[in-house]
């Protein structure tokens, strides 16, 4: 893991925001980057690109340097107009090529970058999601006031094709769910898989201390787990007494259910129809889905990756 020489920290190495990109989706990228550019506190952005050509990286750079959004409005005559709004702020960023093809690997890579470059916190935002305008500022304020906390989760607005579905990460605040209001604990998480990994702010050192170390590279997430790895990760970190708290402010818009021909394992978003999709489309069977879910609920007792594999049961004739 190398030093980010092209990134001069504007926030005193308080927070490294990591944006993994493996596909150039112009509108979504613009919206995501616009939300980063509009933050009320300076952001250091590390863009990890996978499988993009040099030309695509150039295009990505152009978007990062002038992100814009389109506002659709009705004018005085009642006609629909589309107004482009460019961000007036520059993004402090650097781009690094990555070989990580799955979210598990990207997460570990992001954490190692944050550790190597001495960032106190790091956070991952997916390119089809957006941050709320004041999220970084607000979360850093909470972090400064609550130094005992290791992970700050935002209230997430769950959006399905532009439709608001509900809030996420809010379960820690529900009366009677957790032992201490606002904090996740193991019984709550075993009851519901109710924590989202993207948008969360992780204290780098807390995660490093609880990660498997292989030759100086740290593995917070077990890369062998195909799906529900975040569930296993959160369960293990809670089991290791990390304090995880939901800041009662909306910080992240999580856009799900985007129609995709193939399952994108580079993203943390596992589509609801994963068991319907064919193996060629990245789909898995119900049996495999259940296997990984059950595994997550058992495997968190182990602090190292045991590389367990799914073995389909072959029916005997």
């Amino acid at each position: 893991m190398k030093e980010l020489k092209n990134l001069t920290s504007l926030n005193n190495k308080e927070l490294l925001l990591v944006l993994p990109v493996n596909n150039l989706e112009d509108v979504l990228l613009n919206e995501c980057l616009y939300s980063i550019a509009e933050q009320t506190k300076a952001v250091d952005l590390l863009v990890l690109v996978n499988n993009l050509s040099d030309q695509e990286i150039e295009t990505l750079k152009n978007i990062i340097e002038a992100p814009k959004i389109t506002l659709t409005q009705k004018d005085d005559k009642g006609e629909i107009t589309h107004n482009e709004i460019n961000s007036k702020n520059d993004i402090n960023y650097t781009i690094e090529k990555s070989n990580s093809e799955t979210f598990q690997k990207i997460f570990n890579e992001a954490m190692n970058y944050a550790n190597q470059n001495q960032y106190k916190f790091f956070s991952i935002v997916e390119y089809d999601d957006v941050l709320t305008k004041d999220w970084i500022n607000k979360s850093m304020f909470f972090a400064s006031e609550r130094e005992d906390i290791d992970v700050f989760l935002p209230l997430i607005k769950e959006m399905s094709n532009g439709v608001f579905l509900g809030y996420f990460n809010e379960a820690s605040w529900v009366d009677g769910y957790s032992e201490e209001a606002g904090f996740f604990d193991t019984p709550l998480l075993l009851r519901f898989n109710c924590m989202n990994i993207t948008g969360s702010i992780f204290k780098t050192q807390s995660l490093i201390n609880k990660s498997e170390n292989k030759n100086g590279y740290y593995y917070a997430i077990k890369e062998s787990i195909k799906i529900n790895y975040a569930y296993e990760f959160f369960l293990r970190m809670l089991y290791e007494y990390l304090k995880m708290y939901t800041i009662p402010r909306v910080g992240y818009e999580h856009r799900i259910d985007r129609p995709q021909p193939k399952v994108n394992y580079f993203s943390s978003k596992i589509p609801r129809d994963i068991t319907i999709k064919t193996p060629e489309q990245g789909g898995i069977t119900n049996e495999e889905y259940s296997f990984w879910l059950a595994l997550a609920k058992k495997e968190y007792f182990y602090d190292t990756d045991r590389n367990l594999k799914f073995e389909p049961v072959v029916a005997k004739v």
């Binding site: 709320t132 004041d134 607000k138 304020f141 909470f142 006031e145 609550r146 209230l155 608001f164 509900g166 809030y167 809010e170 379960a171 605040w173 529900v174 009366d175 209001a181 606002g182 009662p248 402010r249 909306v250």
Partner: protein, 401 residues
Amino acid sequence: MQETTQQIETPVSNPVEEHNMIIDLIIEKINSNDFKIYFYCPPMNTPSGGIGVLFKQAKILSNNGYNVEIIYEPRHDAKASFQESQKKGKKIEIYEKFNPTWLEKEIEGLPIRPLGADNNDILFNDGSKEKAASISINAQDFVIIPEGFPNMMQHFVKIPCKKIIFAQSWYYILNALQVGQNWKSWGIEDVISISDGITQYLNIIMPGLKIKNYSQSIDREIFKPKSIAKKYPKIAFMPGRTQDAAIKTYNVIKTFYSFYPQFRWIRFDKLEGLSKKEFAERLSESALVLYTDEIAGFGTLPLEAMACNTHVVGWNPLGGKEYMNSQNGFWAHNGDIFLLAELLGIAVEKYIIGELDLPMVTEEYEKTLERYTKEKEIDSIIKIYNEYKNERIEELNKLKQ
């Protein structure tokens, strides 16, 4: 209850001179603060904002050299009396002890006296015993009677002292009176009102009263803001004075949950049966407070909440209109359950998106609270009683022959 008036002895034999001399002596006593201010107080041991304000006023006067006494009629405790009578085999009367410990510093050093027949022992349900005494009210003394006790007003009709009504609620004024009755029927014209709303109301229902406005304060040493990082996404509320009020409050809460299922994780925290400190702590740790007092004479809860940087969503009763505006809270028309539930949702939404964290919100609260400082409260009370002293002297001078 008994009251007596003391005779002031004078060496003069001419009746006119004697009359004038007595008046001069009374005036002298008033001028030198050698008189008592009696506050009649209903003996409620459960926290009550009204009793708190009454004690606060008494305490300020006491701290400023006035001779103040709280008087109350002990409430009969039928159950304790029955049990004690059974045990002792004779009729024994037990009374509830008035001991508003929830007021903490407001009661320090204030004499609280049960009224009863002279030298009789009053037995209290906490096992203590106290000698009752009939109070001796003189012409120079002042008696302060809360607005909801016309029986006490009637009681003092023949006592030639200054009688002042302390009006903290508009709602109970006419409820406590017979149709056609008013305070002037008992020779009382002087009123201390705690809000512009009550003053306006009294001017309409009983024109001609002499009303002075008392400016309340919020105790900023107790009601303090907490960092937004230390607050919980919960809504504090007080269920209400009556069962009906409580039903309405719960209806607002359930309507809110029904309108906004996405906010079912937001908790409500009932503030009831707490000491002042506990109350302030719980209010301060709440993000919002639901205010459902429809009949408030003034309404300190919204101001206390503003002092805690806790955002208020509530009805706009008559008493609070002097400080409620569109910048310092989410106000619904009094009694409108649907609008209040809707506003709760709007307020929660604004809270979680961080709009209520902006400095301009706190600045607006401070602007509102500027009017209700401790200093202003003390000044207003001292001013009111100085005026009463002067008016009383003027009244007495007019009685001279």
